[in-house]
């Protein structure tokens, strides 16, 4: 990691701790914000959070690794989470899964080489009456069919430029 990047991450974390308060209950909100901005919670980030909140880094690691929506590995700009639970299973999630792998060119648990897309399974998304359900970042798609997968990916690609510009300006 470049020194400039490290510095920025450190500043961000200090700002977040300031905002949420220097107490243990701020840990998860701080980690969520780091992930939102930096797409990953690196070892370095965990160390800084630990220092700022007065915790052992192992505690921070323990929490980060416990929750499905917190991740140490680098992920894409767009995280695709396909619901794997029973109702979406009955509604045909397997074929949607196959098509997602085909159109993204990756398997579940992987990120595309260009860093744009990650593909993951999710436990019940609470859209059981409208399955198969797919969560792309904060947006939920319902009754997804295999042939719609391509359009969803295209929609992300068309907004990716906007994301990139946002990052460059901040």
């Amino acid at each position: 990691m470049l020194v400039g990047q490290q510095q920025r991450l450190q500043d961000d974390i200090r700002g977040l701790v300031e905002r949420f308060g220097r107490q243990r209950s701020s840990l998860i909100p701080v980690l969520q914000e780091i992930q939102k901005t930096h797409t990953t919670i690196s070892d370095f980030a965990m160390q800084v959070v630990a220092d700022e909140l007065g915790l052992h880094p192992a505690e921070v690691y323990g929490v980060t690794s416990f929750y499905a929506f917190l991740r140490q590995e680098s992920r894409g700009r767009f995280v695709f989470r396909l619901c794997q639970t029973i109702s979406c299973d009955l509604a045909g999630k397997a074929r949607v899964a196959r098509q997602l792998e085909n159109d993204l060119g990756i398997r579940f648990g992987q990120t595309t080489a260009d860093g744009r897309f990650s593909l993951e399974w999710a436990s019940c998304l609470g859209m059981c009456d409208q399955g198969p359900a797919l969560l792309v970042n904060d947006r939920v798609y319902t009754q997804v069919t295999p042939e719609q997968v391509h359009a969803i990916i295209d929609e992300c690609k068309s907004t990716f430029g906007a994301h990139a510009r946002q990052v460059a300006h901040s």
Partner: protein, 400 residues
């Protein structure tokens, strides 16, 4: 591709006048509010069915530890497979949920409220924040609520981070405090030693909304619906093989068969009542009642059509529990993995009856020895599928 409205029947919530419950509550003593909630015999709508009045009474009587205050927490960590009624309530009736929390705060003397929202529902947050802000502007939250001097209470939203086990109230509190969502030993119970060690009431989204209706319309009205041990209406999230999946309001005590009929699931071979942690009811037992004294549910109903492979269903549930077990206690961590392995053996047609009996013995151990409700209830689906569909699952020759 975009979500559609899940509501399939009118809800009682639609016809309740805004703030009618809070208005009544503000004119009552704390003991009277709790008395009313106890009298109607409302039981927790999250699934466990603990009497709400009893919970509030204990929290009201508990002493605050130095320098702190009591908390009211709304459990919006709706993660049970097949459950989505809390999502609909939060979308359409958020005001009622917050109103119910405010009534609870009044009853137990809490000053801080927290809505623990699962991260899968993060898209609801902007809407919920707007509702909270409007309530603050209308003095329904904040200082001197409703003009009652000294009644101070505010609510903030805390996002979950993707863990089914956090629906268990002590795990939820651990998560609020910034820890791994590992359930605590009980006692002490949250009503006495909850968030930050202070007395805390944790109730489900739907429970809070019912409190508003009960105070607005009297306990007598609520008690007149349902059965003697399971009073009132309940929202059901219906999915699976039926013509009209969605959220329905029915009185408790409805039979599984009546429900299947109403949702267009005629011909179903089984219904999973209570989600992955619930029970699989075969068509021969559709006369059973959905109530705390018979088959209970937090609202999840999954219909299985005639051609469904019940072993594949069992496998999906076991994969879910292997993924979602917090790993803290051995019966749950190791037990669910063993059961999944067993289902896979059955699918390959490699499981002897002796080994299957051993697995059922393991299920009993898990039900008895697991630390929290997750492990205690995780074998339910497996046990009921084995019990009712033995002819379908034994001696398989095809690899699925």
């Amino acid at each position: 591709m975009s979500p559609v409205n899940s509501k399939k029947t009118p809800f009682t919530f639609d016809s309740v006048e805004p703030e009618s419950g809070l208005r009544v509550a503000l004119g009552m003593s704390r003991a009277d509010i709790i008395g009313e909630v106890s009298a109607c015999q409302l039981r927790g709508r999250g699934g466990a069915g603990f009497p709400t009045g009893t919970k509030w009474n204990l929290a009201a009587a508990a002493k605050v530890k130095e320098g702190g205050h009591k908390y009211v927490v709304c459990n919006a960590d709706e993660g049970e497979p097949g459950a989505f009624k809390d999502r609909v309530i939060l979308s359409d009736h958020a005001d009622m949920v917050f109103e119910g929390m405010t009534i609870a705060a009044r009853a137990i003397g809490a000053t801080v409220g927290i809505l623990y929202l699962r991260s899968e529902y993060v898209y609801l947050r902007p809407h919920l924040e707007r509702v909270l802000e409007r309530r603050r502007q209308n003095t329904l939250l904040g200082v001197d609520i409703g003009g009652v001097a000294g009644f101070t209470f505010d609510i903030h939203i805390h996002m979950g981070a993707g863990a089914y086990v956090c629906g268990e109230e002590t795990a939820l509190i651990e998560s609020l405090e910034g820890h791994r969502g590992e359930p605590r030993n009980r006692p002490p119970f949250p009503v006495d030693t909850g968030f930050n060690g202070q007395p805390t009431v944790v109730n489900n989204v739907e429970t809070f909304a019912w409190v508003v209706c009960i105070l607005g319309r009297t306990a007598q009205w609520f008690k007149s619906i349902g059965t003697a041990k399971s009073t009132g209406y309940k929202l059901f999230s219906v999915s699976g093989d039926c013509a009209e999946p969605g959220v329905y309001e029915f009185p408790l005590g409805i039979t599984v068969g009546e429900l299947v009929e109403k949702v267009g699931g005629r011909g179903a071979k089984a219904v999973q009542v209570g989600g992955a942690s619930g029970h699989c009811i075969p068509a021969s037992e559709f006369g059973r009642r959905i109530a705390f004294e018979d088959v209970s549910t937090g609202g999840s109903i999954i219909v299985f059509g005639r051609d469904r492979d019940m072993l594949a269903v069992a496998r999906n549930f076991m994969e879910f529990f292997v993924e979602e077990s917090c790993g803290q206690c051995t019966p749950c961590r190791a037990g669910n993995a063993k059961l999944l392995e067993g289902v896979e053996m059955l699918q390959r047609g490699e499981c002897s009856m002796t080994y299957l009996q051993e697995l059922l013995g393991l299920c009993e151990t898990m039900q008895l020895a697991s630390k929290c409700g997750l492990g205690q209830s995780s074998p339910n689906a497996f046990v009921s599928i084995v019990k009712h569909f033995k002819d379908e699952i034994m001696g398989r020759t095809l690899v699925h």
